[in-house]
Structures are given as structure tokens and as C-alpha cells.
Amino acid sequence: MTKPVLDHLGETKLALGPITGAGDGDWHHAVDEGGTVWLALDRKGSSVNTISEGVLKGLAGHLDALEADTPKALVIRSAKPAGFAAGADITGFDAMSEEGAEDLLRQGHDVLVRLEALDCPTICVTHGAALGAGFELALACDWRIAVDGASFGFPEVRLGLHPGLGGTFRLPALIEPTEAMTLMLTGKSAHTKKAKSLGIADVVCEERHVEAAIEAIIAGDVEKHGAGLSSHAFRLGPARNLAARRMRSEAAKQAPPEHYPAPEALIALWEEHGDDRAAMQEGEIASFAELLKTETSKNLRRVFFLRQGLKDKARGEDEIAHVHVVGAGAMGGEIAAWAALQGKTVTLGDVETGPIGAALKQARKVCKDKHLSSTEARDALDRLIPDMRGYGVARADLVIEAAPEKPDLKGKIYADLGKGMKPGSILATNTSSLPLAELAKKAKTPTRFAGLHFFNPVSKLELVEVVAHDKTSKATLDRLSAFCGAIDRLPVLVQDYPGFLVNRALTPYLLEAMVLMEEGVPKEVIDSAAIDFGMPMGPVTLADQVGLDICLHVAESLKEHLDKPMPDVTAALRDKVEAGESGKKAGQGFYDWSDGTPHPDTEDEGPADLTDRLILPMLDACVECLRKDIARDADEVDAALIFATGFAPFRGGPMHHAKARGVEEVRATLSDLAARHGPRFEPDEGWSDLA
């Protein structure tokens, strides 16, 4: 066989009825023999459809003709194999938020209202994702056919918004209102089966049966999903009050309303006007325009583009089909599992069988968490090959060393690997604290040696630091970045530096928290301050989760290698590590983890400068890294801290936050802290470059 048969047969072609060639603009238009008009969305110059102002204007143009001469039926679908539509064109939001948002929204609403009012069956066929405005376009049609694999969702909440093209009233009118609100408040997608059971999709079928399904709908052979009883109940104000209260408390658990205003805006809108479509529509437009202007939404949109930016840098061919991971500890196991899940052949080596068994069990759990089907999970686990004898070394294109942080041990491992690795393969270390330049001396080919620093858990934290030392070749770094892209992680290129970028920034934050504890500030007060700032968890909880032994190791390594003073390692940290109370993994650290993740609820107040003492050293370290060219630019620093540590996304990242707060103000506050608490707060000289 010279080539796989399925490659020759190609992808299943999308059923596009009478549409043959490309049309002008974003829409293709054609009429079939039965008199049904087909409109296929196909945005020029993009592999993915988004709903822009132009798309809606184009649709309005076609509606003019359809209103004048009503067809038998109208079919709307996407001509892009990638899916229906990814949502609104976010690039236009910034300009829109300045002025005229309401007018533009109203124009969009008018188009969809006209589509909805068309006097013939309107059928939307969706494949892949129909998100945000794409979903709203589908909702304005009478019927929805979901091709198997289709999903529907409103991710607006992740951008600090709620649906703005009629979703807030059309979805609650179509399906059970609380289900509709849940979809909009969580931003989660409803996949094909769920979409059918909720009543979003009227028909689910394979692509090859789309035209038959359309004919059945036109012939009146398909029954409409009836709205549930509860939709009637929610026409009453008190019922909505009660439901809204529950939604508020659920939403607050996910995102504090003082930082994330969109969920509250949506809940209030529905609570007030849930029984009045016209008022909902007006309210949606006003509220969406208002949210667009918030710093939270602007910053979350910024985070969206930061992610896009990192993804763009992760494109290219990695030439890595087989990965060998040395060390099946927590990190090695996670890396191996994730790479296998993403399609790589992975061998996982360890001197002990127990950790490999544990890693496989964890891999199965990740498959489950990521909703893999049983056959997908089987294939992923088949690709993850236990390898005590290191057979995979000779076949691997990339070897990732994730052994304990002992330079001598790593040196010995590199010497062995050097004998067996195939020509052209890359050796990467997942070290988080050892100087790369030292390790590079022990690697057989330093040009093809680099750091590949993942964060735990790999399946949840998207960032990977691709670490260069002075001999790493550009080709190696490019391949490693492309490898990160291939396994759906986000690479940031950083230079060899104590703690690289992320741990350099994070360590003073963790250590300062411990110094504060030693000063008598309760750990719950410290953690609450960080959470109030917008961190996903407090520094004491984070230290426990990372592992106090690892924190201690990183802290000592940084103290040894950095010129700048760091907070002292406290006796309490040393005692904990010595006592084996190393945090979450031991069930006991600063917190008791035996009953799961601790919740540091407290009403007590800490010292006035508590939050600054925690956060500003992190910003200062970022400035230092920029000054020393450890990271490429401020945007990548922001992205790294957000995607590795969850740094308050609504603040747009540490550097963005520093600028928003005022560079001079931050520097002055640092100087002030230095005067009161010691030279570790002395502002970096790099601040003057930013002023």
C-alpha cells in the first residue's frame, strides 16, 4: 500500500445541496430543485467561521430577497470542515466597546429577528462547534440538525460577557430555563447527545444523512421537542427569584462577583425580565454594551489573545512521533499520560514498577476527566508503554528526563542515554530548579539539550516553559515549541535562570506567605487576601499542593543562585519537611488535606500591606526577568503567569496589572515596603524602563 485508503478517499464531504462554487462575500447562496434556498457561511481567508458585522450584513442582504420571494425552506450551514461558527469576531470588540456598541448590537438583533420571522421553515445544520454568536444564529432558525459530533455553547462568560445576539432570551425560551442559564453561566458546551436531550437539536444524524433529514423536516415528518412544564413556572417572578438565588451562590463559587460582573448581570436580567421577551432583548443589549467596557472583560479578551499568540508560536512540525520519559513520578507520569492522550507514542521508564503502575492509573483518570470514549481511552493507554528496560530510548525522537532533582543522578542518566539515543533526537529535562548550563555539560549533545518545564497537573495547567541555555540550537527550541503545540499545551520560551520565569516569580510569593505566618498572621488570612486579589488559591494552599519539600528545594536553589535577597526560609517550613508533612501528597502540610482541599474562610483582617507584600514581589521578579531578557516580552510574561499559576486573569497578567496600577506607584510602594520590611522588597532597576 503506498498510502492509507482513507487518505485517498478524503474527509466526508459536507452536504451543501445545490451550492457548488464559492460565492461572493462570506455567504454562498443557491436554490435547489425543490425550491429550498441554501446559505452556506464561508468566511474568506479563515479556516474557521466567526460572526462579524459583515457576516450579519451579508445575511441581511439575502433576507431582503427571501422576504420578497419566500422560498419553500431555508437551510443555513457552514461550508468550513472545521465547524459551524466559533462565535463573534472578538477582534472587533475593542473598537466596539469605545462607542456605538448598542447600535451595532441592535442592527445584529434586527437581522436575526428577520430570520426568525421568515415565513418558511428555517433549518440550521451544524457540525463541530456552534459557539456564542454562531449558536445564536442557529437559535434564530426554526429547526436545528446536529451532525454527530456537533456541540453548542456560550463561552462569553469566559470573556467577562454574556450572550449578546439574543441568546439570553432565545435559549431559555427553547429549553428548560435553568438548563439554559447553566449553559450561559458556566460557558460549558452541550455535546451532541446532551444537545438533543436538552432540546437544542431537533435531529441528530451522520453527515451522510443530512440531506435526508432536511427533506424529512420539510415534509413535516419530524416532531418538535416540547418545552417542559417548568418553563411555564418560570413565567412567575417568585419562581425566578428563588432560582436566581441558587444561581448566584453557584456562580459566586466559580468566580467572585466583585471581579467578574457578567454572571450577576445575566442572572439579574433574567430574574427581572424572564417573562418579557422585549424587555429581555433591550436589557441584553444594554447589559452587553456595559460589560464590554469593563476592565474585566477587556482583560479577559486580552487573555484570549495571549493564548492565541502562544498557540501561533507553537505551530510547525515537531518531527516527534515517539517520546521516552525517564522517571514515572508525579510529573513524569503526568507528562507521559498527556503526550499519549494527544497521540504520541510514549515509553515511560522507571527503575521501580510501582510508580509506573500508579502513573497508568492516573493516566486512565485523565482520560476519564477529559471525557474520552472507551475506545479513545484504550488507544491512548495502548500508546503509553511501560518500559523498565529503556527499550524506547533508541526509538524516541524526544527523551524527557523527569528524575529526582539530584545533579549527580541526572548526570548518570544522561551518560546512559547518550549511549542509546538515536541521532537527531532531543534530550529535555523537566527540572524546575537546577541550572541548565550545569546539566548541559553532562548531555552528549548540548545543542539538542533544553529544558521542558511542565506544571502539575499537566492536564490542567497549559503552560510549558521551553528553557534555552547558551548552547541550545534554535532548531531544537523550535521543535520543542512545536511539540508543545502538538500536545495542546502553550510554550513560552525562556532563558536559563534560577527558577526560570514562573518559579522565579512565584517563589518570593510563597516564601513571603511563610514569613507572614511566622509574624503571626493566620494562614487563612494570608490565603484569603490572595484569593480576594484574584488568585485561584492562596500561597499557603499552593505551597501545600506543590509539595513543601519541592518548595524548600526550589527556595534554597534560588537563594543560592540569585543575587537579590529572598525572604528567609522559615523554621516552620523546614520542620514540616523534616516531619514528613510535605503537603497535599502527605495528607498534611500547613493545612490538613485528609478531607480534601481546605477552604480558608475567615472574616479576620490582616495587616494593611498584606496583599502588597504577597503580590508586588511577584511583579518585581517579572520586571527583573524582562530586564535580563529571561522572557521575550511583557505579554509572554503575563501569559506564562496566567497559564501556569492562574494569576488573576481578569487583571490581564502581572505586567499588565502593574501598568494599570501605575508603574511609579508600584515602585514607590516597593520602596516603602523595603524601608519597613527589608531589602528583599527593593524595586528592580528594570522598573525605570517601564515608566
Binding site: M1, T353, G357, K361, A363, R378, D387
Partner: protein
């Protein structure tokens, strides 16, 4: 006759896992994948370089029709890898090697992956015929009256399933189960309980020593269960401290109360898979392989199912003789231990001048096989007998043991339920 040389290049198997009530952690294909991945990983050629995959499997489960093909795909050997499954009951794992051997000898192929896989703990519960018919009628019944009538045909014994494994281990022609055939042989050849128990004890001690010495390290690949993280790194039916006293306490398993075949001197019911790589001279040269043995010849024979245990005598003797050897020319034997009484009966038959004259056409007794040259590292009594796999394991282990001991010629042979025997002759390279 075309006699292109055929080599056994490498092989690996899972640990044999004793069935402990309820389905074990792996299906037949799971086992084949567990053994196959490290084996393929340690070869100097790519996984898709094979021409063919052949897998012996007796109890194919419903989710894995043609397990050879399912295994080949799960092992990443490529969509165009032709694969088929062979079944000759307890000889299936050797039949896969024999088929590979013949194809390569004829010049049809150069590189074949041949194995055996069996998960006896997954053997299904089989519904009684009456119950099957009742279910079919229920499905056909339309309307409440027809359904009520069909329902009335339900009998309580429909819910008493038949253990599929028990049926599989019973010969359909003579209706004797395999243990009973061993009782027949024990009686005919005068094998007493104590001799059989002593043989069984020895099997355990030999396997325990082989495990301890690391002689199985390249052969047995650790298996991992991702459901619970459990690690299986050795044949777990072994009882290193097995002694005559504890064996004597066991009751007969098949013919109570006077029989002498007990669970202690029978092979164990076990899950496991094994693969060997069979290659032509051209493939050996092309990939720079280092064969462990040359496959010289093979033979199959049939006899009355009630004495199926003598199968090895009927096939191995002509195989040895026609290749110009006598008993003393064979350095090492792997004779599958279905039952201690059955192995001992084979030895007795070979040493019985009348039997050898009458049945084998020899001039006198073939001779007495030295116990030091027979199953030197234990056998199915200590390892277990995953039926479709055992034939593959004995060939692989024969090759490995010959190499370790510096032996020149060896025979692997097995009895086969239903009244057959299979044998293969290997030569050191």
C-alpha cells in the same frame, strides 16, 4: 523440498496469571498487547515491518473477533497488516509458529509475528439451549398475549448458566473431561498419586528457581493494569514452598473419591499471552537480527480423544527420527504439563518396548527421557496453562533455555484436547 532456513529471533510473554474467581484484569487481546509492546519496542526494525501476524486463541471473546487483527492494530502495526487467528485447542500457540514457519520456509513471507493469547478467567457463562430458545421467542413475540404465552415457557433452570470453560475442557466425542483422560492414562500406565505429586512439586520448585535466578527476565514482560495501577511481574501460580504433605491433602478433582488427579498435580487455569518473531534468512540479514534458534521441523498427530495425553509421543517421535536423531540426540525437552500423570505416562510409553513397537513402529523402546532434560524450568503445573498460549510459550522457552544451557537440539511438544499432539524441533544457532 524447499528448505529455506527459518529462525526464531526473539519472543516475550506476559506473566501467567492464575484465574482467581471472576474475570482477570486482561482480555486475550489486552494480554497480547501487554506482551507485544515491549517485544516490538526492543527490535531494531519498525512495527510495520512484519508481513503477517498470526495469533492462536481458543476462547475468543465477543468483543475481539479475530483477536490477531485487533492485536495487530492495537500494537500500531499498521492498517495494512494482515492478521489471522488459529485454533487447534491446546496447540493453537504452536500452530501459529508452525504456520509462520511453513510460510517462510516456502518463501512466501520473511517476517511474521506469531503468538498465542488466552484469558481463561474471561470464559463466558453459557446459557442452556432451552433458555436461548426461550429468549428468541420472547424477542419475536408481538403483543401482550403472545408475550404472556412466551413468558409462560420460562423454566427456573434457564437461570442456571453452564460454565463455558467446563464445557470447553470436556471432549465432545467421548464426553470425558480432560482430567478424566489423565485418570485413564494414570490407570493404564500405573502412575500412582505419590509419583504424580512428586512431579508436580518439582515443577513448582523448578519455576521458583528460574524466577529467582532471573532466567525469565527477558521472556516475561511485566503487565500493568491501568484500572487500579496493579503490577503483575511474575507467573503468580507458583508455590515455591510446595511440599508432598500439602499436595497429599488435596482431594481428587475429577473422579471422586478414588481418583488421583488433583488440583495440585494438574495444570492451573490461567490467563496469559506469548509472542515469538519468526524470520527468514533475508530478514535476519536485512535488519541485523540475532536469532536464538533455528526452527528445523514440526509434526502433528492424532489419536483417540480419551487418551489425548499421549499426543506428544505420537508426534514427537517421528519428528525426531526423521531428522536423524535418537533419544540421546535431544538435549532438551519442553513437554506441556497438562497433568503430571499425563507427562509421566508419555515418559512411560516412550520407555515401553511393546508400545513403541506396536504404535510407533520402532524396534524397541524409544528410551527413558532424563528428568534433567525435561521441563527444566517448570511447566504448566506451576505456570498455568492458558490453552491457546501454552504451545507458544514452550517453543519460546525451549529456545531461551537451550541458549542458556548451551544445548544443540531441543523438542517442544504438547498434548491437545480432542486427541491431538504437536511437536517442533529447534536447533541452536
Amino acid at each position: 523440498m524447499n528448505d529455506r532456513p527459518v529462525y526464531l529471533v526473539d519472543g516475550a510473554r506476559t506473566p501467567f496469571l492464575k484465574a482467581r474467581g471472576g474475570p482477570g484484569p486482561f482480555t486475550p487481546v489486552d494480554l497480547a498487547v501487554q506482551a507485544g509492546r515491549p517485544l516490538l519496542m526492543r527490535q531494531p526494525f519498525a512495527r510495520d515491518a512484519f508481513d503477517l501476524v498470526i495469533l492462536g486463541c481458543v476462547n475468543v471473546i465477543a468483543d475481539e473477533m479475530n483477536p490477531a487483527r485487533v492485536a495487530a492494530l492495537r500494537l500500531g502495526m499498521g492498517e495494512d497488516m494482515v492478521a489471522f487467528t488459529t485454533q487447534i485447542n491446546c496447540g493453537s500457540g504452536m500452530q501459529s509458529i508452525d504456520t509462520a514457519f511453513r510460510y517462510i520456509r516456502e518463501g512466501k513471507q520473511d517476517l511474521i509475528l506469531a503468538g498465542g493469547a488466552e484469558a481463561l478467567s474471561h470464559a463466558p457463562l453459557v446459557l442452556r439451549q432451552g433458555a436461548v430458545e426461550w429468549f428468541a421467542e420472547m424477542n419475536r413475540a408481538r403483543g401482550p398475549v403472545a408475550q404472556a404465552r412466551a413468558m409462560a415457557g420460562l423454566r427456573p433452570d434457564f437461570f442456571k448458566p453452564v460454565i463455558g470453560l467446563e464445557r470447553g475442557l470436556t471432549d465432545p466425542i467421548t464426553t470425558l473431561n480432560m482430567g478424566q483422560t489423565a485418570e485413564v492414562l494414570a490407570h493404564r500406565f500405573g502412575i500412582d498419586r505419590k509419583t504424580a505429586d512428586a512431579y508436580a512439586m518439582d515443577s513448582h520448585h523448578r519455576l521458583a528457581k528460574a524466577q529467582e535466578e532471573g532466567w525469565l527476565d527477558d521472556e516475561v514482560m511485566t503487565a500493568f493494569d491501568s484500572e487500579d495501577g496493579e503490577v503483575y511481574d511474575h507467573d503468580d501460580g507458583v508455590r515455591p514452598d510446595n511440599d508432598m504433605e500439602s499436595l497429599a491433602k488435596l482431594s481428587p478433582a475429577f473422579e471422586k473419591p478414588y481418583g488421583q488427579v488433583t488440583p495440585g498435580n494438574s495444570s492451573q487455569i490461567t490467563d496469559g499471552a506469548s509472542w515469538v518473531i519468526v524470520a527468514s534468512e533475508a530478514a535476519v540479514e536485512e535488519h541485523g537480527l540475532k536469532p536464538i534458534a533455528r526452527i528445523v521441523d514440526s509434526e502433528w498427530a492424532g489419536l483417540d480423544p480419551s487418551v489425548m495425553g499421549l499426543g506428544p509421543v505420537l508426534c514427537a517421535t517421528p519428528l525426531v527420527m526423521r531428522n536423524g536423531y535418537a533419544l540421546d540426540g535431544i538435549d532438551l525437552w519442553e513437554l506441556n504439563e497438562a497433568f503430571a500423570a499425563q507427562v509421566l505416562s508419555c515418559i512411560a510409553a516412550w520407555n515401553d518396548a511393546d508400545f513403541c513397537r506396536d504404535i510407533l513402529g520402532l524396534e524397541g523402546a524409544f528410551g527413558l527421557i532424563d528428568r534433567d532434560r525435561l521441563n527444566v524450568d517448570g511447566g504448566a503445573i506451576s505456570l498455568g496453562h492458558p490453552v491457546g498460549t501454552s504451545g507458544n510459550r514452550i517453543v519460546l522457552h525451549l529456545a531461551n533455555a537451550m541458549k542458556r544451557r548451551g544445548d544443540k537440539i531441543g523438542v517442544a511438544t504438547e498434548c491437545i484436547g480432542g486427541g491431538l499432539g504437536g511437536a517442533m524441533l529447534l536447533e541452536a544457532v
